[in-house]
Subunit: 305 residues, 2 copies
């Protein structure tokens, strides 16, 4: 059992990652940004601020980096448009906020948090979400801000192969975070650009509480990444929570069960999870997952394969 | 224990319904449409067709009636726009389809089914969902088709009182159905116009698998109605399923637990559920719920309070 005062874990997407897909330089760039996000979360949690503050601030850093598939650097859909999703859940209050298919919001995770804290609803989509963003003073960017050459090339490759890239190349790089703060409160946050070559208007598991994200002080917080449509039909993140709460499964056992269930419906992925004692569980059934963790008892560590 | 070959249950929305809110004539009009939908489902199930066919055809009839808050007759949001949500799940294949914030689709439930059967994704929202509808030949209607004078008056009342009408007047009339067919397969389908005076772009629990809808042959199918934002944070319909599957709760006990959990976060509502033996459970913690049921062993019955 962990004996820490606070803890934080991040993922930067699970996929069929192979070492020859990245140069050493690229890997080290990814690890650098993951480390920056962990340092930010660490400093927040050390100073006694909330798990919600830690996960949203860490995710903001990953969204602002063009390396990850969230915010700037998001993948491009089949109409050539970038649409981004995010959600957040406060395990103490069980309040939630989600946004789906936003095109100009610099930090979808901050808009999701604004929905959680200042909107009577739980999930806003499309133009309506941006309308709310403007009313609440959330920062918008021109669409060009989100665009990267790398994602454009990935779209062309996917079009050539007539495929949703995720299933084959697995460069998902969805980002997620879970944390426990010094008051023992949990939170989870997740953000993504979705799938390369996805349909216009496709909402992902990342925007859906229970599918790609869940947090509840009664047991644990979890953020998922992978083939999102299978996370949606399996209600994967709530299932993880239910297995721990209703069957007393450990984080490890619950994690193996949900990954196995994903596989049975043709999906794969990974997750980061944390319980109310600050124990962290990270697992994936794909070739790799960008990830990192830190706690009051453990130094920052990051990994990919 | 039920001993039937097939069974079907419908709801037409839970709310703080009081007898003096409706004339006897209005109540009888609602009951007539519920009966029509049950007759349609009965004829489908008797002829050996699937639970998916039964729930989608029954919901289509409720959507086409201007009385219910789904399809024609949907409530109006705070920008004066009607946005509709629906989802469907096949308990045999565990495939799902959902749509959110569509404005011109005559039958959102049929579009949700089209997503389930002919789209690699699980949930499409807004313009993207209508773009997919057009490509697949799903029937669109001009926006005026959905408009009713009654809903416009409800919006004016809500604006005067600066409230989301649901919480106080409870005329929700979201529609939902669950069925077991002669092969023992389960399905659930739900459709809604959401809340009077809701924010532009608000996606409801009705479009979200696990929140307002769930079906799995391993245990049961359920369709919910009520204060949807609480259904989303509680992942209410998957929670119901998890309680039956992981804790062996009866439909009745699982129902009481989820209704109690809703109440604890300030919500209320109701549901129709069915298990793999065709047992039907209907419950609500509001003043009333439009509902009806029929099976191979039972004649059609409908009720409101």
């Amino acid at each position: 059992m962990s004996n820490c005062e606070w803890a934080l874990a991040l993922h930067g997407g699970a996929g069929i990652l192979k070492k020859d897909m990245f140069s050493q330089r690229e890997i080290s760039d990814y690890e650098k940004v993951l480390t920056l996000a962990l340092e930010e979360g660490k400093s927040i949690l050390e100073s006694g601020l909330s798990a919600v503050e830690a996960v949203s601030s860490a995710i903001k850093i990953l969204e602002d980096s063009p390396l990850f598939n969230a915010g700037r650097g998001s993948v491009i859909g089949n109409t050539g448009i970038i649409e981004m999703d995010a959600s957040i859940m406060d395990g103490q209050t069980t309040q939630v906020g989600g946004v789906s298919c936003v095109k100009r919001v610099q930090n979808p995770i901050l808009l999701a948090r604004e929905v959680m804290e200042n909107c009577p609803h739980s999930l806003l989509v499309g133009d309506g979400a941006e309308y709310f963003a403007q009313k609440r003073g959330i920062k918008l960017k021109p669409k060009e801000y989100f665009y990267t050459e790398k994602r454009w090339e990935q779209l062309q490759n996917a079009r050539d192969k007539k495929q949703l890239v995720l299933d084959h190349e697995g460069q998902t790089q969805t980002v997620g975070a879970v944390a426990m703060d010094i008051n023992g409160n949990l939170a989870a946050a997740t953000s993504t650009g979705g799938l390369t070559n996805k349909a216009y208007g496709r909402a992902s598991d990342t925007s859906i509480i229970g599918a790609g994200n869940f947090a509840h002080n009664d047991s644990c917080a979890i953020s998922g990444t992978g083939t999102g449509d299978q996370f949606i039909r399996n209600v994967t993140c709530y299932d993880f929570f239910a297995l721990t709460l209703y069957q007393g499964k450990s984080l490890k056992d619950a994690g193996e069960i949900i990954l196995d269930k994903l596989k049975r419906v043709g999906g794969y992925g990974g997750f980061v999870a944390i319980d109310k004692k600050g124990n962290i569980e990270i697992n994936f059934n794909s070739g790799g997952m960008f990830r990192g963790q830190v706690s009051s008892a453990e130094k920052i560590s990051v990994g990919v394969f």
